[in-house]
C-alpha cells in the first residue's frame, strides 16, 4: 500500500501587483466565487506584508504558498504541504520565461492588455495543476501557431465597441 496519500499539484496561481491589484487568477480546485475572493484578499495581504529577506515559502492553512516577485508583479502558487517548493519556484520562472518569449520583455501592462494570452500560455504549460509541457519551445510554438490564424487581440480590443 501507499504510505503517502497526498496529491501533488498546484491548487491555484495568483498574479498581483505591489499595490495589491490582482492581474491573473487560475484555480485548479473548485471553489465558490465568494471563497475565492476571500482567499485572494488574505493571500495578497500576507505576501505583501513579508519583507524581502524572508524565504519564499509561507505556511497557509494546510497548504504552502510559494511566491516570487518579478519587477512589479508577485507570482504566487499554493501547493500541498509535501510538494516540491523549489521546483514550484521554477514553475513560476518558466511561466515568466514563456510570457517573456511571447511578448518580448514582458511587463505588467502586457498581462493587463493581453490577459487572454496570459491565460492561454498558462494553459499550454499547466493543466489541472500539473505541469504539462516543460519544453519552452513546444509551449510557445503552440501559442504562436494560433496567432497566425488571426489578427492580434489588441487590434480588435482597441476598436470602439459603439
Amino acid at each position: 500500500g501507499c504510505l503517502r496519500q497526498q496529491t501533488w499539484k498546484i491548487h491555484f496561481i495568483l498574479l498581483f501587483s505591489r499595490q495589491g491589484k490582482l492581474r491573473l487568477q487560475k484555480w485548479y480546485t473548485t471553489l465558490p466565487d465568494k471563497e475565492k475572493k476571500k482567499i485572494i484578499r488574505e493571500i495578497v495581504q500576507i505576501i505583501l506584508s513579508r519583507n524581502q529577506k524572508t524565504s519564499s515559502f509561507v505556511d497557509w492553512k494546510d497548504l504552502k504558498l510559494v511566491y516570487k516577485r518579478y519587477a512589479s508583479l508577485y507570482f504566487c502558487c499554493a501547493i500541498e504541504d509535501q510538494d516540491n517548493e523549489l521546483l514550484t519556484l521554477e514553475v513560476v520562472h518558466r511561466y515568466v520565461e514563456l510570457l517573456d518569449r511571447y511578448f518580448g520583455n514582458v511587463c505588467e501592462l502586457d498581462i493587463i492588455f493581453n490577459f487572454e494570452k496570459a491565460y492561454f500560455i498558462l494553459d499550454e504549460f499547466i493543466i489541472g495543476g500539473e505541469v504539462q509541457e516543460t519544453s519552452k519551445r513546444s509551449a510557445v510554438k503552440a501559442i504562436e501557431d494560433s496567432d497566425m490564424l488571426q489578427e492580434t487581440v489588441e487590434e480588435y480590443m482597441n476598436k470602439p465597441a459603439f
Binding site: 500500500g1 501507499c2 504510505l3 503517502r4 496519500q5 496529491t7 501533488w8 490582482l22 491573473l24 485548479y28 473548485t30 465558490p32 513579508r50 529577506k53 524572508t54 524565504s55 519564499s56 515559502f57 509561507v58 505556511d59 494546510d62 509535501q82 516540491n84 517548493e85 523549489l86 521546483l87 519556484l89 521554477e90 520562472h93 518558466r94 493587463i112 490577459f115 487572454e116 491565460y119 492561454f120 493543466i127 489541472g128 495543476g129 500539473e130 505541469v131 504539462q132 509541457e133 516543460t134 519544453s135 519552452k136 519551445r137 513546444s138 503552440a142 501557431d145 494560433s146 490564424l149 488571426q150 487581440v153 480588435y156 480590443m157 482597441n158 476598436k159 470602439p160 465597441a161 459603439f162
Partner: protein, 929 residues
C-alpha cells in the same frame, strides 16, 4: 476601452464606465442584426475582461457557447476561455458545451482537441466526467494520437480522476498507460507520470510494473550529459520536472524487491547525492533550484524507503550543509526535511549532531517561517539525552516568540517535558515556567495534565505543593497558576503545612487573596479547595466557614458559586470528621492513557505530522500487512474506532473519567450526592457525532471506549417506541455497581409537570462480567413535541476507579414520524396553507458529505417522512411529507431540500403547523447532509 478602465480616476468612474460598456454589449447581443463571429468574440472577450476586474457578469454565456462551434481557432479559443472562467451550472448550457467539446474531440484536429481537453480539465465538473471519462482513455492510448494531445489527455484524465474517481473506468488502457513511461517524447512521459502516480496511490497492485520502468527512466536521465535532453534540460539540469515526478511515483511503493532494480535505484540516488557536491554548472539561481529540487525529492524517497542506512546518513549530512547556507530557502527546506529524517532510527543520531545549529537558527533567523521549522525540528530530534537542553531553549524562545506559534510551542514543551521527564520535579518546574511565560497560551489540556501527573506520582507531590506555593507569592500571577495552585494545595497542601512559612492559614490566605481577581470557573475551583482544606486542616475550619458564609459567597449572583458555597458550608457543618475524610479524600490516581496534550497537538497539526518513531513503525507494519488505509473514515454509520485509528488520534472517545478533574458542579462530591442530577458526567467527547448518525437510523453502536461498548436497537410506531440498549464489557475485569440511568433533560430542569417524553426502564444487574453483555429495555412514549434528547448516564467501578460517563440517547422528534404520500397538487396546496412565517423554518448550509442523490433519498426516508417523487417541478430537489404523532396531538410536516451542486450547498425548508417543530426538525435534518 481597457486603457480607459485602467486609468479611471475613481472607483465610481470605473463602475460608471463599465455599466455603460455592459449596456452596450447587451444591446449588441440582443440586437436585430445577427453578430458575426468576430464581433461576438470581441464582446465575449470584453465581458471576460470586466469579470476579471472583479465585476459580476450575468449574461453572454450563450454567445460564448456559440463561439465554441466556430471554425476559427481564436473565436473558439475565447469561447473556451470564457466557459472555463465563468462556468455556469445551467444544465441546458452544460449540454450544449458538452456537445461542442464532443465535436472537437472527434475533429482529429490536434489544436481543437487540445482546446476541448483543456476546457474539460479546467471545469472538471462531475457532469463533464460523466460525459468524457470513458472517451479520454481511448484518446490517450490510441496509436495515432499526436504527442501534444496525449499530454493534454493524460492530465485531463487525471483531473477527472481526482474529482470523480468512480467515473473513470479502469481497464485495458491502464497497462498501456504504464508503457508511456517508455515513450520517446519526454513531454508525454512527464504528463503520463503524473497520471500514473495518482492512479497508483489508489490502485498500487495494478500499476506495480511502473516501478521498474520509472527506475530505468530515472537512471537514463541522471546519467545523461547536460545537453542530451535538449529542450528538456533546464539551466543545465536534465529534465528536473520529470525526475521529480518519477521520484514521487516511486514514493508510492516500498523499495523495489528485484535486487537488480533496487541496485539501479540506489545508484541513481547516489548519483544525485554526488552531484550535489559538484561545483555548480551555472551561477544562476534557476540552476541551483532545479538541481536541489531533484535532490530534495531524492531525499524524500530515501526517507520514505527508510531502509538504506548509508543513504540516510548521507542525506542527513547534505541537509546539514544546507542548514548554514546563505540562501534562506535552502535553510528552510533543510530544517523541514531533517524533521522527517529525525524520525528514522538510522538517521536520528546523525540529525542530533546539528542541535547547536538549529538552536542558533531559532535565535537568529529573521523569518518566522524558518523559525517555525526550527521549532519543529528541535521537537522531532528530542530524546532523553537532549530533552533538558531543548526544553530550556524552547522556553527561552517562547519569551519572544511570534504570537502565531506560541500555543503550538507551549504544547510541544509540555509534551517533551512529560515524555522525557526522569525527574518529575523538572517536569513540574517546566510547566509552571510555561504558565509564567505564556500563561494565556496554556490550554486546559496542559494544566489538567500536570495535575493528573502530580496526583499519580507520590514522589513529586510535596515538591509540587512547595513550588506552587512559592510561585503563588508573585504579586501578579496568571490565573492558570491559581487553578493549578488551588488544585494541588487542596490535595497536598498538608505536605508543606509543617513549615511555619506555609502554615494552613498562610496557604489559605494566599489563595484567597487571588480569589476576587479570578473568573467564575476558577473561583468555583477555589471553593472546592477550601472545603478540601476543611478536611486537611481542621484548625482553620472556622475561618473557612466564615468566608463561605459571607454574603459575597452565599448570595453570589452566580448560581454555581452560590450553590457550592451553600453546599460546602452545610457539609462542613453537619458532617462528622469521618464522613468529611471519606468524602474529601485524596483524588484516586487517573488511569494511564495517551496524553490529551498530544491529542491536541495532533489535532492542531493533523495526524502524521506529529508522529514519533514508534508510531511510524506501527503505522508501517499495518501498512505492510496490506490492511485497509489506516486513515480511512468508516463510511458506514456504525463507528467502531480501531486501535490504529485511536493511535492517530482520530476521534476515538477517551475514557470519560480520565478526563481532567471536572470543575462542574459538585464534582468532588459525586459519591455523596449521587442521587442528585449534578452528579451526571459531562457528555463524552465525540458523542454528538454518533448521535447525529442515529437521527436517520435506529440500530448501531452508539458509544465505544477502551472499556465499554454501547449498542442500540430500536423501533417506533406512532407515538410509542421501544429501545434495546446493549452494554458490552470489553475488558476481562468485572464492572461493579453498574448503574445506567436515563434522564430526560426535563428532569434536569425540574420541570416534570411539562414532561414531554415519558421513558420507563428497569434497572440492570449491577455486575457485568468481563467480556459479557447486558441488555436494558427502554419504553418510550412521546407525550408532546420535545427538543432535547434524553441523556444516558452510566456509572460503575472498574478496577479501583469510579467511571462516570454520559451520552445523548438518540430519541429524537422525527422518530415519531408517519410518512404520508400525497400528490403534487395536494402537496402544494398544503404548502401554501402553511405560509405563516412562524410555520416555516429555513436553513442554508454547506454540504458536509458528497452530494449523492441516492444517499440523500435514503436519508430522507430514514428520517421518517415519505419521499415524494415528481412533486417538485425541479427534479433535482427533494420533497417529503409526514405526520409527527404525539399523545396529545398530531402535527403535519412538509419538507423541501434544494441541493446546489455548484456551490456545494443545500437549502432546507420545513413547514409545519408548529414553529418549535419546524425548528427542531430543520435542526436535526440539516446535520445529515
Amino acid at each position: 476601452m481597457c486603457v480607459l478602465l485602467i486609468s479611471g480616476k475613481s472607483k465610481e468612474a470605473e463602475i460608471k464606465r463599465i455599466n455603460k460598456e455592459l449596456a452596450n454589449i447587451r444591446s449588441k447581443f440582443k440586437g436585430d442584426k445577427a453578430l458575426d463571429g468576430y464581433s461576438k468574440k470581441k464582446y465575449v472577450c470584453k465581458l471576460l475582461f470586466i469579470f476579471l476586474l472583479g465585476h459580476d457578469i450575468d449574461f453572454g454565456h450563450m454567445e460564448a457557447v456559440n463561439l465554441l462551434s466556430s471554425n476559427r481557432y481564436t473565436e473558439k479559443q475565447i469561447g473556451y476561455l470564457f466557459i472555463s472562467v465563468l462556468v455556469n451550472s445551467n444544465s441546458e448550457l452544460i449540454r450544449l458545451i458538452n456537445n461542442a467539446i464532443k465535436n472537437d474531440l472527434a475533429s482529429r484536429n490536434p489544436t481543437f482537441m487540445g482546446l476541448a481537453l483543456h476546457c474539460i480539465a479546467n471545469v472538471g465538473s462531475r457532469e463533464m466526467a460523466e460525459a468524457f471519462a470513458g472517451e479520454i482513455p481511448k484518446i490517450l492510448v490510441a496509436g495515432d494520437t499526436m504527442d501534444s494531445v496525449k499530454q493534454s489527455a493524460a492530465l485531463c484524465l487525471l483531473r477527472l480522476y481526482r474529482t470523480s474517481p468512480d467515473l473513470v473506468p479502469m481497464g485495458d488502457w491502464t497497462s498501456r498507460v504504464v508503457h508511456l513511461l517508455n515513450d520517446q517524447h519526454l513531454g508525454v512521459v512527464t504528463a503520463a507520470t503524473s497520471l500514473i502516480t495518482t492512479l497508483a496511490q489508489k490502485n498500487p497492485e495494478e500499476f506495480k510494473t511502473s516501478v521498474s520502468l520509472a527506475v530505468s527512466r530515472l537512471s537514463r536521465i541522471v546519467t545523461s550529459a547536460s545537453t542530451d535532453l535538449q529542450d528538456y534540460t533546464y539551466y543545465f539540469v536534465p529534465a528536473p520536472w520529470l525526475s521529480v515526478k518519477l521520484l514521487r511515483l516511486l514514493q508510492c511503493y516500498p523499495p523495489p524487491e528485484d535486487p537488480a532494480v533496487r541496485g539501479r535505484l540506489t545508484e541513481c540516488l547516489e548519483t544525485i547525492l554526488n552531484k550535489a557536491q559538484e561545483p555548480p554548472k551555472s551561477k544562476k539561481v534557476q540552476h541551483s533550484n532545479a538541481k536541489n529540487a531533484v535532490l530534495f525529492e531524492a531525499i524524500s524517497l530515501i526517507i520514505h524507503h527508510d531502509s538504506e542506512p548509508n543513504l540516510l546518513v548521507r542525506a542527513c549530512n547534505q541537509l546539514g550543509q544546507f542548514l548554514q547556507h546563505r540562501e534562506t530557502n535552502l535553510r528552510y527546506l533543510a530544517l523541514e526535511s531533517m524533521c522527517t529524517l529525525a524520525s528514522s532510527e538510522f538517521s536520528h543520531e546523525a540529525v542530533k549532531t546539528h542541535i547547536e545549529t538549529v538552536i542558533n537558527a531559532l535565535k537568529t533567523e529573521r523569518d518566522v517561517s524558518v523559525r517555525q521549522r526550527a521549532v519543529d525540528l528541535l521537537y522531532a530530534m528530542c530524546d532523553r539525552s537532549n530533552a533538558q537542553q531543548i526544553v530550556a531553549e524552547m522556553l527561552n524562545y517562547l519569551e519572544t516568540a511570534d504570537y502565531s506559534i506560541r500555543e503550538e510551542i507551549v504544547l510541544k514543551v509540555a509534551i517533551l517535558a512529560e515524555k522525557y521527564a526522569v525527574d518529575y520535579t523538572w517536569y513540574v518546574d517546566t510547566i509552571l515556567n510555561l504558565i509564567r511565560i505564556a500563561g494565556d497560551y496554556v490550554s486546559e489540556e496542559v494544566w489538567y495534565r500536570v495535575i493528573q501527573i502530580v496526583i499519580n506520582r507520590d514522589d513529586v507531590q510535596g515538591y509540587a505543593a512547595k513550588t506552587v506555593f512559592e510561585a503563588l507569592q508573585a504579586p501578579a500571577c496568571h490565573e492558570n497558576l491559581v487553578k493549578v495552585g488551588g488544585y494541588i494545595l487542596g490535595e497536598f497542601g498538608n505536605l508543606i503545612a509543617g513549615d511555619p512559612r506555609s502554615s494552613p492559614l498562610i496557604q489559605f490566605n494566599l489563595l484567597h487573596s487571588k480569589f476576587h481577581l479570578c473568573s467564575v470557573p476558577t473561583r468555583a475551583l477555589l471553593l472546592s479547595t477550601y472545603i478540601k482544606f476543611v478536611n486537611l486542616f481542621p484548625e482553620i475550619k472556622t475561618t473557612i466557614q466564615d468566608v463561605l458564609r459571607s454574603d459575597s459567597q452565599l448570595k453570589n449572583a452566580d448560581v454555581e458559586l452560590q450553590q457550592r458555597a451553600v453546599e460546602y458550608l452545610r457539609l462542613s457543618t453537619i458532617a462528622s470528621t469521618d464522613i468529611l475524610a471519606t468524602v474529601l479524600e485524596e483524588m484516586p490516581p487517573f488511569p494511564e492513557r495517551e496524553s490529551s496534550i498530544l491529542a491536541k497537538l495532533k489535532k492542531k497539526k493533523g495526524p502524521g505530522t506529529v508522529t514519533d518513531l514508534e508510531e511510524i513503525k506501527k503505522e508501517r507494519s499495518s501498512d505492510m500487512n496490506g490492511s485497509a488505509e489506516p486513515t480511512s473514515v468508516n463510511a458506514s454509520a456504525v463507528s467502531t474506532p480501531s486501535p490504529s485509528a485511536d493511535l492517530l488520534g482520530l476521534g476515538a472517545a477517551p475514557l470519560t473519567n480520565s478526563a481532567p478533574p471536572p470543575s462542574s458542579s459538585g464534582s468532588l462530591l459525586v459519591d455523596v450526592f449521587s442521587d442528585s442530577a449534578s452528579a451526571v458526567a459531562p457528555l463524552a467527547p465525540g458523542s454528538d457525532d454518533n448521535f447525529a448518525r442515529f437521527v436517520c437510523k435506529n440500530n448501531g453502536v452508539l458509544f465505544e471506549n477502551q472499556l465499554l461498548q454501547i449498542g442500540l436497537k430500536s423501533e417506533f410506531r406512532q407515538n410509542l417506541g421501544r429501545m434495546f440498549i446493549f452494554y458490552g464489557n470489553k475488558t476481562s475485569t468485572q464492572f461493579l455497581n453498574f448503574t445506567p440511568t436515563v434522564i430526560c433533560s426535563d428532569d434536569l430542569h425540574f420541570l416534570k409537570q411539562f414532561l414531554c417524553l415519558n421513558l420507563q426502564t428497569k434497572p440492570v444487574d449491577p455486575t457485568v462480567d468481563g467480556g459479557a453483555q447486558v441488555q436494558q429495555v427502554v419504553n418510550i412514549e412521546c407525550v408532546s413535541d420535545f427538543m432535547e434528547a434524553p441523556i444516558l448516564n452510566i456509572q460503575f467501578r472498574y478496577g479501583g476507579t469510579f467511571q462516570n460517563l454520559s451520552v445523548k440517547l438518540p430519541i429524537t422528534l422525527n422518530k415519531f414520524f408517519q410518512p404520508t404520500e400525497m400528490s403534487s397538487q395536494d402537496f402544494f396546496q398544503r404548502w401554501k396553507q402553511l405560509s405563516n412565517p412562524k410555520q416555516e423554518v429555513q436553513n442554508i448550509f454547506k454540504a458536509k458529505h458528497p452530494m449523492d442523490a441516492e444517499i440523500t433519498k435514503a436519508k430522507i426516508i430514514g428520517f421518517g417522512s415519505a419521499l415524494l417523487e415528481e412533486v417538485d417541478p425541479n427534479p433535482a430537489n427533494f420533497v417529503g411529507a409526514g405526520i409527527i404523532h404525539t399523545k396529545t396531538t398530531q402535527i403535519g410536516c412538509l419538507l423541501r431540500l434544494e441541493p446546489n451542486l455548484q456551490a456545494q450547498m443545500y437549502r432546507l425548508t420545513l413547514r409545519t403547523s408548529k414553529e418549535a417543530v419546524s425548528q427542531r426538525l430543520c435542526e436535526l435534518l440539516s446535520e445529515q447532509f
